[in-house]
Symmetry: C2
Amino acid sequence: MEIQVLKDIFESNEQMADANKKLLQDKKVYMIDMMSSPGSGKTTITERIIDTLKDEYNIAVIEGDIETTKDAEKLAKFDIPIMQIETSRFGGDCHLESSWINKCLDSFDLDVIDLVIVENVGNLVCPAEFELGDDERVVVLSVTEGEDKPAKYPLMFNSSQTLLVNKTDLLPHLDFDMDEMMGNVQRANPKLTTYHVSAKTGEGFDEFIAGLKENIRKKIGK
Amino acid sequence: MEIQVLKDIFESNEQMADANKKLLQDKKVYMIDMMSSPGSGKTTITERIIDTLKDEYNIAVIEGDIETTKDAEKLAKFDIPIMQIETSRFGGDCHLESSWINKCLDSFDLDVIDLVIVENVGNLVCPAEFELGDDERVVVLSVTEGEDKPAKYPLMFNSSQTLLVNKTDLLPHLDFDMDEMMGNVQRANPKLTTYHVSAKTGEGFDEFIAGLKENIRKKIGK
């Protein structure tokens, strides 16, 4: 087994994240890092973002999975640049790292691209520890996961700018206390911008998309 | 920052897992390691197991969380030994390790205990990489997480003996293809014993409990 030193992993990851940030600044590209538990709806959300914004922005996607290219296949219909990272091939199973993002960015024509959506590995813990050089971290939480998650996974909620509370269409069938969840969000990160959405029905997306467009405009001027 | 060598982490974890296994063999205690994504229902399942088996077996619980003692508090009503591990205090956020389990086992009266339920950190990736010395790995998958998870998180499903497909009460409200999911389970691990349950309604639990009791009986003779 290869011996790796954790200190080096984190340090070199941050250096490459800084390089990615500079590259994206130079090329005027906005990048979001979408993170969540497995199965909270990241890919369906990505599909909606692309579908809504594809006429205004040139979009590229980086799909992170341990194995399979299932998510990338779902997005193939959009005819946009997609890079799939299967982390099992890199020996790092539970998160994306900035060096892999850098290789993906290299393969995109960043003079043309406006928005890069990174769909991280489904994991509410480890991805939060690895900076990628993005402009915005979007954490997705499905209401089926329960009210307590912002309290139990504080780094993920602390380090993100945007929270999408997803699958609101299922609320009538759940014992879910939205006030308790929002209290936990408030305690974890009072600055988190929160949208309640259903990726399935589209409910609540207009507000999220408006916020995202405003963030993109501030950076790239369109 | 402390420098840790990954090789040592895994090696020393396996050594302590072997020690735990031997201790549990000597004391005739059955231990399950329950793992899943965040919010898939592990605590509610643990409550049902205790409620159903508390008159037949002496049960103890080890609760793993990054932060909070919320899950342990839910189980306090049962008046059984519970150890809470908050992994943020150990610098290891995303999984439980065998040395922490060893400390918990030390605190239990293993001459009296028959069954130890370990509720691992909510994470479908990293906990699978760390042996604890248990007799049975139980992976819980909520139907809200989608059909593709056994394909996308192969180690978790490969290395477990039992799968609980939970939240079946929500199936009427989801576009969930059970046949596709079971096909993915079959490809990931054809030996996985699978039960379809609803921890909320209790549906499907009799079969799972019967299987668990049979496994316990084989080891401890009662």
